[in-house]
Amino acid sequence: MIMKWFKKNRVDEELPYFWQNYAKSFEEKIPEKISDIRFTVFDTETTGFDYEEDRILSIGAVRVEHQSIEISDNFEVFLKQIKFNPETVKIHGIIQNEKFEKISELEALKRFLSYIQNSVLVAHHAGFDIKMLNKALKRNSLPKLKNKVLDTSILYKKTRIVTNLIDRDKVYTLDEIAEAYNIELTDRHTASGDAYITALIFMKLLGKIVKSEKSTLRHLQKSH
């Protein structure tokens, strides 16, 4: 045990400074009250759906705290691409060599980690985005993300009534939920546009699920 602990610590020390900073932020405990928790709602746009082959094109994120979003505090990066899949350009409209400033994968991860710190990550179909990020971290010889994660598609399903009349295994797309909640769908398929829509949905979901002051994060995770 002790050996292992030592080993782990040593590995951490060999990791770059920005990772150590990120890892250190987890020493601070996440607040008890849901409204005090810092949530980072994010979305990634990728060249495709293959974890090995495809790459992240951009990451967008906003922060939700006390049921509010501070617009000035949003996050958006575009990544330099070595590989390029013309198929997905149609969806995302992020064309290579467009006017946005583009940064390397490592730089993007570095900025993202310093943005998220120990906040609770929220995304729609979060599994995919997290895995994409972890793959990117691995390529840069970094460990996996340490954050707690919530998935809005699963939270939404929890708010639906239990009845045989609707399909319980249905997978809800961001568009369907936004439609049900009357949220306009402009800026779809840009990472920060989607992150913002997801954040609005997330705040509504919190309102529906967290009914009492006493609710905790575990409550939300149990919904998963």
């Binding site: 906003v62 049921q67 509010s68 979003i69 501070e70 617009i71 000035s72 949003n74 958006e76 946005f100 400033e101 639906r160 009534i161 009845t163 045989n164 009349l165 609707i166 439609e179 049900a180 009357n182 402009t186 800026d187 840009t190 920060s192 546009g193 913002y196 609005l200 705040m203 509504k204 309102g207 009914k211």
Partner: protein, 640 residues
Amino acid sequence: MTNSIASRIADFLSDFPPFSLLEKSQLELIATEIKVMYFEQGQTIFSRDESVHDYFYIVQKGAVDLQKIDNNQEPETIDKCDEGDVFGLRPLFAKENYQINAITDEESVIYAIPLNIFKPYAISNPHVGNFLMESFASNTRNPYSNEHRGKLISDEEDISLKKEALFELQPIPIIKKMVTVSPETSIQKSAILMSNKKVGSVIVVEDEKPVGIVTDVDFRELVATGKLPIQHPISEVMKTPVICYSKNLTIAQAQLTMMKHNINHICITKDGTPNTQVKGIVSEHDIILSQGNNPAVLMKAINRAGSTKKLKRIRNKVMILLNGYIRSNIPLTHISNIIFELNDATIKRTIERCIEKMDTPLPAKFAWMSLGSQGRKEQLLNTDQDNALVFEDVPEEKLEETRAYFLKLATKVTKRLNIIGYEFCPAEMMARNPKYCLSLSEWKDQFSEWVTTSGNDEILLCQIFFDFDISYGEVKLTNSISDHIFDILKGNRNFLNKLAAQALRNPSPLGFFRQFLVEQDGEKKDLFDIKKRGIMPLTDAARLLILEHRVKNISNTSERFEKLAQLEPNNKEIYQACAYSSRALIKFRTKQGLRHKDNGRFINLEDLGKEDKIKLKRCFKSIKEIQELIKIRFETTYYL
């Protein structure tokens, strides 16, 4: 770093003053500093005596009540802000604490605009400053008296909630939407113009000066009677001279003038004589309309509403009307009839507008059915929308194409109804669901299937779909479905027995010691579910018994019981008690809902007075009696 969210917010802001008075680049800058806040219904944004925030606010979605605390410490709503309205402006002008409460009236998204960012614009741009001054003044004054709130220029007709006493002395609401024609215009053309604009009068002008007026009555008396052909110029039917006034006319004056001259329209000109430019027209109807507390007026407003937003605003007024009715203790039968008609008109108008919005004309005849409480005319508060659609049979190869068309229509309609305030049905029992958007023969098959393979789910569906009422479209289609239901139920005792078992599912809500049965667990623990334990057992019983008697076209629960009382004189007393209980429970629920701004379904027993409790218990006694009757009449034991 780019910020696409900020530009989306800037886009929203640019539609509303004072932001519309700023440059796009300035808005982009402001938008990047905004805080987007989410509130559930009934949450406080700020309250009286709280020190002022570093922000002022604009409603992006939802609605906010501004409340003043009166001498009795009771909050009184003095203003209501909806989409695009700004509030919380005090810190822009004064450093003292807030004087009013701001509470969300529904679930809302609010943009908070930092003062330090915005203040320079308010100072450097006098238009912005003036607008904010004016809004601030109107926010804090009694409100419903100022209809210019939120807009620099108000030109749309608006129903306001004025205080009765002041009403007559207020300046008349001038309707600017008037139709003018030249004297040479043909009678026919003028009439077409009037019907397009949905107005009841046209002013004949020369050089913008009024020379005559023609109203609906003149068309009836002079044209429809055949006295004049429709090709003749309008000048031959017009009334002259036109009674003119300047815009300072008060309501009382206008009413007197109309009585004196026996007219119902007054023309407003620049200086009040017929020799100056026409500014607008006032009709008797518009005056009544401005009082805003009259169902006929709301009805007219619904039928003229040109946007979903407007329909939503009218719905809010309907709620105020409902509140007034309940408070003045008007019999529920009258209330529900009126509210039903207003709901019905809202649904009709919404469908009508959506049909206009479709790219192609209707491919087949159809009918829009309202299910559940709206179908039973028992929907007083905005509850869920339950609806379905039937279209006439089309050739096989056209079927899916036709369905796709109606699904698209239904999606539009349900979305707009949702915006107006009817929540989506959580079980997706809506016409936009391919399962409930069927052709006539598909519906017949569907009902046959439900009745023959009646498991619990099917029985539940039957209970919902048996209480349908046509809201729009072809009556023949829905009648045909009703006939079919009676055909398949003929001699099907088995099915009725199952329905009976379902009707007994929720026993009378009084426990052994005559205490109330409350919810045992979940979010609603210890609350009393008046829908499940009070209203539904009665509804189910009435439906079952009326089906047994094969009575068609009565879907209202208390009307059903009244009918049953006629049909079975020996059980008259029970049925009449049930009819009374049904009305009483619905009224009870409505009161609860209005008080708590929800659907009134869950009641905290501690909130009830002794009198209310006794009343409720009396209702539950009739539930018990009717359930005994059902138990004896039907063979339910197998299914319980």
